[in-house]
């Protein structure tokens, strides 16, 4: 009952005219961001963050969260129509979405994707509503040792799970931690790495770094790869008419894919580091493995589009659980969102739902409304959003750069921060070029001060002894998780070796049977 009454209060808070307007603006901008190839939710939120200055905190975060999940809807349109995902979470949607469009079924594909996104977004938000208070209640008992370990575990997950790039991922995280140490040391008041600059005393703000790494870095990477020369093959779609709507068969084929994708996406999304990309690819594999006709996958199977779409949207709700209850962002986009929270004076974590219930529940309630608005926008305005994808990148790139520069300048009116942003843009390009993980840098930059503070508090409590991590049950459990994450590369390498060994042995055993089959 508590949850229900909190949610009703949240809805009351979210449906204020100002917040509704911001929610609509957020989902609209999110769709536009998602549709634009080369811009994803993290870059979109980072670039749009300065536009929320002057708003009240709830309205600002409602709008930014709407940009986040709106971008997931928008990314599908380009995946289906031009075989170019707006961001990595919709890569799996191209596998069957584009073949469907080439068969003249772009309308049904996009409508089914929108319905799947809505169902998954709503299921995900419902699960978030139930899981967030429980997780927050557990996390309330966490002290500084546990919080330090949670931060470490989150970062390790990001490094271990995002690709196989552990070494470069760890360097990326260390770069973020290094940037986080610039400024006054909270513990002793000593200046670190300020080099006498008054502008660096308060440290390096995450906004210029996030805008640089994700916004400018993306643009530079796209230009380096000739994005400005591309002429995209666009498949048109018109709303209305018989061929626009999905058939009963589409629905029958896809309804369980929608359910499976929603549940899988949410639980994968909860794990820091996994996120929407992993969820959507996993869902595609699951759908293909349970399909009666797996050979249709890759050639235009509706469940192959619906499953991943449901998964990536549910994952965005799942990612909100660690963000709201532990203050732990699991991806680049949630790291930028966390930065937005901190900018507005809100500290996500176990206390957030107790101390700022209006905000926390207002945000959750807004996600229900946002998904409903997105469904309507997607079903009836797909052609309008699709036309955004026709804006050539050679026009888009200068606009994004100017927006990034002016947006960064307006945060503190500091030209030094513009320089930091542009420097991070170049760094972001090289990180993309060589396979580093910019998300880990931003997450470490945002969580660095928390990690340092909690470690310091931990050692004060234990009088300098690190054995405190082993004396408390919760922290001991987290130490085991951290150890497991550290050992995961070794374990997975051992499993791979064993599999390879088995594969090498198998042909000798199977050859006779194959021969028999041929003979029969």
């Amino acid at each position: 009952m508590d949850i229900l009454s909190d949610l009703i209060n949240g809805i009351g808070n979210a449906v204020s005219p100002a917040n509704l307007l911001l929610l609509c603006a957020g989902v609209f901008l999110g769709m536009v961001v998602g549709v634009m190839p080369g811009l994803g939710p993290s870059a979109g939120i980072a670039i749009l963050l300065p536009l929320t200055f002057g708003l009240d905190p709830t309205g600002a975060i409602v709008m930014l969260a709407a940009v986040y999940y709106g971008a997931m809807y928008g990314g599908t349109i380009t995946s289906v129509l031009i075989n170019t995902p707006g961001e990595s979470a919709t890569v799996a949607s191209t596998f069957d979405g584009y073949p469907l469009a080439r068969q003249g079924r772009a309308g049904p594909a996009l409508v089914m994707a929108a319905i799947a996104s809505f169902v998954a977004g709503t299921v995900g938000t419902l699960l978030l509503t139930l899981a967030a208070p429980v997780t927050a209640a557990v996390a309330t008992s966490f002290g500084p040792p546990e919080l330090f370990l949670v931060v470490m575990a989150g970062l390790l997950m990001l490094i271990v799970i995002v690709g196989k790039n552990r070494l470069l991922g760890a360097i990326s995280a260390l770069l973020g931690f290094a940037l986080a140490t610039v400024g006054i040391d909270i513990g002793g008041g000593e200046q670190r790495y300020t080099f006498g600059s008054a502008q660096l005393i308060n440290g390096i703000d995450f906004i210029p770094v996030a805008i640089g790494l994700f916004g400018v870095g993306e643009v530079l990477w796209a230009l380096y790869n000739g994005g400005h020369l591309e002429r995209l093959q666009y498949i048109g779609v018109r709303a209305g008419g018989g061929r626009y709507w999905p058939t009963a068969r589409d629905w029958a084929e896809s309804r369980w894919a929608m359910v499976r994708g929603s549940l899988l996406g949410f639980f994968v999304g909860v794990a820091p580091g996994a996120g929407a990309t992993v969820a959507s690819v996993m869902s595609y594999s699951v759908e293909k493995s349970v399909a009666k006709k797996p050979e249709k996958f890759g050639k235009g199977a509706m469940p192959g589009l619906v499953g991943p779409e449901a998964a990536n949207n549910a994952a965005t709700s799942g990612a909100m659980v660690p963000l709201l209850t532990l203050g732990l962002p699991g991806s680049a986009a949630t790291a930028v969102l966390l930065g937005g929270f901190l900018m507005w004076g809100l500290q996500p974590g176990p206390q957030l739902m107790d101390q700022n219930p209006d905000f926390a529940w207002g945000l959750i309630a807004s996600m229900y409304l946002g998904n409903a608005i997105l469904l309507v926008l997607n079903v009836f305005c797909i052609p309008a959003f699709a036309s955004v994808a026709r804006v050539p990148f050679r026009v888009l790139a200068p606009i994004i750069i100017v927006l990034c520069v002016l947006g960064t300048y307006t945060v503190n009116g500091s030209i030094i921060e513009v320089g930091i942003m542009l420097g991070c843009g170049v760094l972001g390009f090289f990180m993309r070029r060589f396979g580093f993980v910019p998300a880990a840098t931003v997450v470490a930059l945002v969580l660095g001060p928390l990690a340092e503070e909690t470690l310091r508090q931990t050692l004060i409590i234990s009088r300098g002894s690190f054995t405190i991590f082993l004396h408390r049950p919760a922290s001991l459990l987290l130490v085991c998780v951290v150890a497991l994450l550290c050992l995961l590369p070794l374990i997975s390498a051992a499993i791979r070796r064993r599999r390879a060994q088995l594969r090498a042995e198998r042909p000798v055993e199977t050859d006779p049977s194959k021969t028999n089959e041929i003979e029969v």
Binding site: L220, L229, L422
Partner: protein, 190 residues
């Protein structure tokens, strides 16, 4: 150069980047060792965290640089890691054709354009130095026009229109609606 397995190797662009990072982190570490790692009351000092970060960072950069020196045939792990990491959380670039789960790591058909990249970075640097003296409106317009002409020369009128309209819209959003305080420069803007 003789590599880790005794075969001839050559440094790559990645090696150079990692060496640069290692140097920056080494300077960071030296400065960290100039700070107290333990405060008088027995608490952790300002230098503790930076020392840990710096030492670990230099070590890992050296390991990664060393690994990037390996001959191409035995560099599979790192290359795989590069590809997967660069695609797992990144947005897909325009025009990139995706054919399957492994596809995001493929070479982009459009080829590489280092001069376009350098020119864009030069434009960004000009933006940085001109923003305050010339003001946001004028600098945005000039840099946008230069970038638009560089990226697509055929449509001069359209480029000029975009270069005027975009700064106007951004000026209205930031200065008029949000009262954000952009540098105005010599133009007598309201």
């Amino acid at each position: 150069m003789i590599g880790p397995v005794g075969r001839r190797v050559r440094p790559t662009a990645m090696t150079a980047f990692l060496c640069a990072l290692a140097v920056i982190l080494a300077v960071y570490t030296v400065l960290a060792f100039g700070m107290e790692w333990r405060a008088p009351a027995g608490r952790l000092g300002a230098g503790f965290f930076p020392r840990v970060i710096g030492v670990l960072g230099v070590f890992l950069c050296c390991v990664a640089a060393f690994r990037s020196l390996r001959p191409a045939a035995s560099r599979g792990d790192l290359a795989d890691a590069q590809r997967s990491a660069s695609t797992a959380e990144r947005e897909v670039v325009p025009g990139e054709v995706v054919h399957g789960e492994d596809a995001p790591g493929e070479e982009v058909p459009g080829g590489r354009h280092p001069w376009t990249l350098l020119a864009t970075v030069a434009g960004m640097a000009a933006f940085l130095f001109l923003l305050v003296p010339l003001g946001a409106f004028l600098t945005s317009g000039l840099v946008m026009f230069a970038l638009l002409v560089m990226l697509g020369r055929r449509h001069l009128v359209r480029n000029a229109a975009i270069s005027i309209l975009t700064p106007v819209i951004l000026y209205v959003i930031f200065e008029v609606l949000l009262d954000a305080g952009l540098p105005l420069g010599p133009l007598p803007l309201p």
